[in-house]
């Protein structure tokens, strides 16, 4: 059975990420973000959102485990910051209802949501420049990087919350991520 663990960066919705995966029938666990990488046994990793870049524990270490990673909200920002992109505060906070435009309909994570999708967001910071190797796969009126992908390394991120009930096609994002993990396996 495919196993995907959720790394808890103290986000309010972390448990909903666990629930979404559980409801889609994969084996899942929520783990603390100070778990040693050697103790993580998974086919894929979700980095949850959270309140503070100073509380991401060992999240960046999990990028080297050789399995696909999906960063959500702060989870995406920490990937961008670690790998040489740029993160800063946005001019316009993204809260609740946001219409996201898909920029790459062949993207394995969000391509199936093209041309646009309505999502629920909650963030003040944003990814201003994606790291080398990544492409921006979605944007919106309030945020330039609503999603990014590096299909070579199987690292992905979304700025919004596919796990909450008000995101219209959130389940599809998790289904796509599960496919990515199963293909990489």
């Amino acid at each position: 059975m495919t196993r995907i663990v959720v790394v808890d960066n103290h986000g309010q919705f972390t448990h909903l990420e666990g629930r979404a995966l559980r409801d889609l029938g994969v084996d899942t666990d929520i783990v603390d973000n100070d778990t040693p990488p050697s103790k993580i046994d998974a086919d894929g990793i979700v980095l949850s959102g959270g309140p503070d870049m100073d509380r991401i524990g060992r999240s960046v270490d999990y990028l080297d485990l050789g399995v696909p990673v999906l960063g959500i909200c702060l989870g995406m920002q920490l990937v961008a910051a670690e790998l040489g992109g740029e993160v800063g505060s946005g001019d316009y906070g993204g809260y609740a209802d946001v219409t996201v435009e898909i920029l790459d309909e062949t993207d394995p994570l969000v391509g199936s949501l093209a041309p646009e999708t309505r999502v629920w967001a909650s963030h003040a910071d944003e990814v201003k420049a994606v790291p080398e190797g990544f492409v921006r796969t979605a944007d919106s009126d309030v945020c330039p990087t609503e999603a990014m992908s590096d299909t070579e390394r199987d690292l992905y991120g979304v700025q919004w919350h596919p796990e909450v009930a008000h995101t219209e096609e959130g389940e599809a994002v998790f289904e796509n991520f599960i496919d990515i993990c199963e293909r990489a396996d």
């Binding site: 309010q12 919705f13 609740a96 909650s122 919350h161 008000h166």
Partner: protein, 305 residues
């Protein structure tokens, strides 16, 4: 999604094993969480469980009577009239967290009395998953009797629904055969109407909140909201008849949600909003304005405090 039937079998057995031949208490608020936990535990240990309902005076219109009726099948049910004690404890307090704290202390005092009387060794709670998350963070403090274990030396705490979401609890409540008045009940915060009057809790503000909440729930029933409420915000100028009124501002809020973690403000038609406005200002002399809250969660929370 949880399978209600096997969940009930499993939990009834678990609760029975945990409590054994001892006595237990549960704080029954009438909400779906504590009602479901009480029904599960009652099924497991019968009258060894004493469900305690405290009438804080912060309840909605007719709520105490409804609960008395719904749970009359539990012979051990206790209804405690603590209205005066709560109002007194809240007098002069304006800070939201201090209000929640005073109410929590009040609940602990009332439950301590009953727990000692019935020699309860176990505490059953209707805690659900999001409660634990929000309490672990510092968004809002939950659990009316969160501090009870420090006062009463229980042998154990039983939380049969600690991993469930609200929608799953409702499934379980339906499967248990709890009346729709409980299983479909709108979420209502533990501190009751106290968090729906901003600032100090007074009898006057509570009376306005109670009537306004009643109007809102009645008028929005067809919109099938996840939660609909009215909150007394503060005072503003109005004119009634030929007299200036410095009256209460009542906010009306109605949201759609699956689990309370996120919420969308409902789109309510103008005629309905106007009827709500007219009833609240017409039936309450001291209300000068009614406003409709259009904010989603996030950035707002569902309740005001």
């Amino acid at each position: 999604m949880v399978d209600p039937e096997s969940f009930i079998d499993e939990k009834v057995a678990e609760i029975g094993d945990a409590i054994g031949d001892d006595n237990a208490v549960i704080a029954l608020s009438g909400g779906v969480d504590s009602s479901t936990a009480a029904a599960l535990a009652y099924e497991a240990v019968g009258d060894q469980l004493t469900p305690v309902y405290v009438d804080t005076g912060l309840m909605r219109k007719g709520e105490t009577e409804e609960i008395e009726e719904t749970f009359s099948y539990m012979e051990s049910l206790r209804i405690v009239d603590a209205r005066e004690r709560f109002l007194e404890a809240l007098s002069g307090i304006t800070d939201p967290e201090a209000k929640r704290h005073a109410i929590g202390e009040g609940f602990i005092r009332e439950f301590e009395t009953v727990a000692r009387e019935v020699d309860a060794r176990f505490l059953v709670q209707g805690t659900i998953y999001p409660d634990r998350i929000e309490s672990e963070g510092t968004i809002k403090s939950h659990h009316n009797v969160g501090g009870l274990p420090e006062v009463v030396d229980f042998e154990g705490i039983v939380e049969p629904m600690r991993d469930l979401y609200k929608d799953e609890v409702r499934e379980v409540a339906r499967e248990l055969g709890l009346e729709a008045v409980v299983s479909e009940r709108m979420p209502f915060p533990g501190p009751g109407l106290a968090v729906r009057v901003l600032g100090e809790v007074t009898e006057e503000k509570l009376a306005v909140a109670r009537e306004a909440n009643h109007v809102v729930e009645e008028e929005l029933e067809d919109h099938d909201p996840w939660q609909a409420l009215a909150a007394v915000l503060g005072k503003a100028t109005g004119v009634k008849g030929d007299n200036r009124v410095h009256g209460w501002v009542v906010a009306v809020r109605s949201v759609e949600s699956r689990d309370g973690m996120t919420a969308r403000a409902q789109e309510v038609d103008w005629a309905t909003l106007q009827r709500i406005q007219s009833r609240i200002t017409g039936e309450n002399e001291t209300v000068s304005r009614v406003v409709y809250d259009v904010t989603h969660k996030p950035p707002a929370t569902i309740e005001y405090e």
